[in-house]
Symmetry: C2
Subunit: 456 residues, 2 copies
Amino acid sequence: MSQEIQLDISGVRSAAIGTEHGITPSVYREIERDLSEAHEIIKQEKKSGDYGFYTIHNDRTMWNDVEITAKKLLKNDIENLVILGIGGSALGITTLLTALKPQYYNLQTKEERRGFPRVFVMDNVDPDSFSEMMELCDPKKTLFNVISKSGTTAETIAQLFVVLEMLQKSLGKSNIGNHLVITTGPVAKRKTLTPMQEISKKYDCKTFVVPENIGGRFSVFSPVGIFPAAMLGLNLRELAKGCRLMAKRCASSDLKKNPAYLNAGIHHHLMSKRGRSISVMMPYSNKLRDLADWYRQLWAESLGKKENRDGSETKLFAGQTPINALGVTDQHSQLQLYLEGPHDKIVTIMEESHFNTNLPITGIPRSFKSLKYMQKRTMGDLIHAERKATVHALKAAKRPVVKIKVPRVNESTLAQLFYMFEVQTAVAGVLLDINPFDQPAVEQIKIFTREYLGKK
Amino acid sequence: MSQEIQLDISGVRSAAIGTEHGITPSVYREIERDLSEAHEIIKQEKKSGDYGFYTIHNDRTMWNDVEITAKKLLKNDIENLVILGIGGSALGITTLLTALKPQYYNLQTKEERRGFPRVFVMDNVDPDSFSEMMELCDPKKTLFNVISKSGTTAETIAQLFVVLEMLQKSLGKSNIGNHLVITTGPVAKRKTLTPMQEISKKYDCKTFVVPENIGGRFSVFSPVGIFPAAMLGLNLRELAKGCRLMAKRCASSDLKKNPAYLNAGIHHHLMSKRGRSISVMMPYSNKLRDLADWYRQLWAESLGKKENRDGSETKLFAGQTPINALGVTDQHSQLQLYLEGPHDKIVTIMEESHFNTNLPITGIPRSFKSLKYMQKRTMGDLIHAERKATVHALKAAKRPVVKIKVPRVNESTLAQLFYMFEVQTAVAGVLLDINPFDQPAVEQIKIFTREYLGKK
């Protein structure tokens, strides 16, 4: 069985949903032409070295350092790994954990966890939640991985100082360094150290560097994502292998071979020319639910821009609003709107083809005639049937639907998905003529926050 | 301090965001007129008794039965409460639990939980997740609350038969009834029993009735929501009190007094006449995060309709797409798009005014000059400042923003919020001239699912 993920866009073609809403062969050829132009720009981008996410999986020195560090730290008595980070510093690892660890992992015994620590991703500054985490995690048995590329993120810095206070009370100053791993940007020449770099120096703790050319939402394969992954026993080699598999496919300018280009072209056309302002990501798999959340940041923050690439045109207000949904759960919440509401969405249905178990539905009495359709079926059969029914209904309602098939959820397929969406986003930025790698409005908010906090 | 929630719409007015995007005084008067017409229809609706959610909190017999049953069952040695349900059968109770129980409740010891059981809401048919729940929950110490108003929901029935098999193996047939509580619709005259009613009869288990006039997404104050709430020790009297408080406010036709009407009018105007096709719900509170998810179902499934109320006009394709976000977390994920992307959103910012704790941020060395703004502040100060900064930025970018102030998160304020949004949805249905209480497309999917499952 192939371990490659597959993209199927037959559900957006006019043959499936009609010419009013679907993509006709001539439009498809237009998309091909757009992409072959964009390909030249992407090739330049790759060559420039300005965007590290294309090749970070090949950085053996860094990956080895991460692996060796994790192995060493796991020899200590670590009961909890707590990640302090927000946005791109939290979403990648959350996605990996939801996909690759048991759903109720933290409730398992240490033995069931094969000795790996429990994990808490603290991605907010809600004081009540944060206090509750601190109640649960004995500082003596807890490792804190503090992640901020800029080294100045207010939320993460606030968390860090609250934690430092707790560590000092419990362990004394001299031991703090053993309970802290910092992941932050490189020390800049002729600039003062950032708060996180100062802390790193002060406590002499292990520190990973996020390369300058990797942005937060593209950082899952930097130490931001792979260090905690290694601490939880995920297979880094398979992650890197998945990246390489997809990188190879994404090097082609042929849409039939390159799923990132194809999906970017389809989405770009439907958002720019057909009023599809919303992109729904709906995996039929609890494991993949947070991938939809990670995609939400990537797609929203990268493409939501009011200026074009060189700043010459303002008030563009580009972007497509991503929505995370979950099959089958959200059939009973969102699907009514997707089927009968405004024609403003493109829906991606993601399939986990093989579950680890299937759970036979047994014991239905023969007298329950209305349940005949469920006899001798499994829960796995049911979720697959529901997925097919949804695709069928979406097509019947003339809603464009993209299918992504994930043969099994594992390190390799996860990496393929991450990498594909990252390239898709970069290319969509080219097609929209915006810069997908910055976030000027978020920077603005940081300034306002400081003002309001100063006022108290 | 008032325990009433407050709605503030100053951020949608032209005075705040300009006339191009804001609501001018003359438009506001138009909205008032629309609502005063809608009020007459709502009054009729209430009088008809067709929609039970308006008054279910006054059904003392039912609420007492729920309370007494829970008290009795809690005397047994119940370590786990497992809820089997999907859509409206799961979202209400999930919202209550996230808001009113500790964030890491299931990780607490039984003592810390004050003797109440752990809780698992199973709202999907992912076979791997379901297996993992079964591994964790010893059937001898587990109570299953199976919820489906129709009594035929495929997902819930499948879960139920898988669980029955497990219970039978572990406890023997005769004991199953003590581990099962069924919540389902009333037995219809001259109709055969539904599968869930059959099971209820077969195992002679406690069964709660969901009144015929209560739809799934409006059912949180029926036994669907309040029985599990009682099993987890939530205060039912305070829930009922909150409903009564808000019911009183919602009886007025005066927009200044009735937040449900006001919010419905604003949303309806902006979606129908100003291209605001998306409604973002963004609480600055981890406790309120799932309220945004509950709202997502309510708003999407109620208003996403292609026909008008009497079926005379088809292809309306009404509806506004709800999005759940979380402050401050999603400032680092979604806000860039909300501020610089298309002018297609109305954003609701929800405030938790008083947290249980504030967490002082201490120990910042004086030498860290860039962190001066954080000195002597708390994590609570930070989340409030971020919220204000976001509202400020949204207004500056001319994006309409509604504020909801929740003085404290407790049973009363939660009930007020639920009730307000329910009435708001009913009124929005009137304004849009669609039926907010049905879900025809979801019914269609059920038929397709049976076909696909039959084929296997």
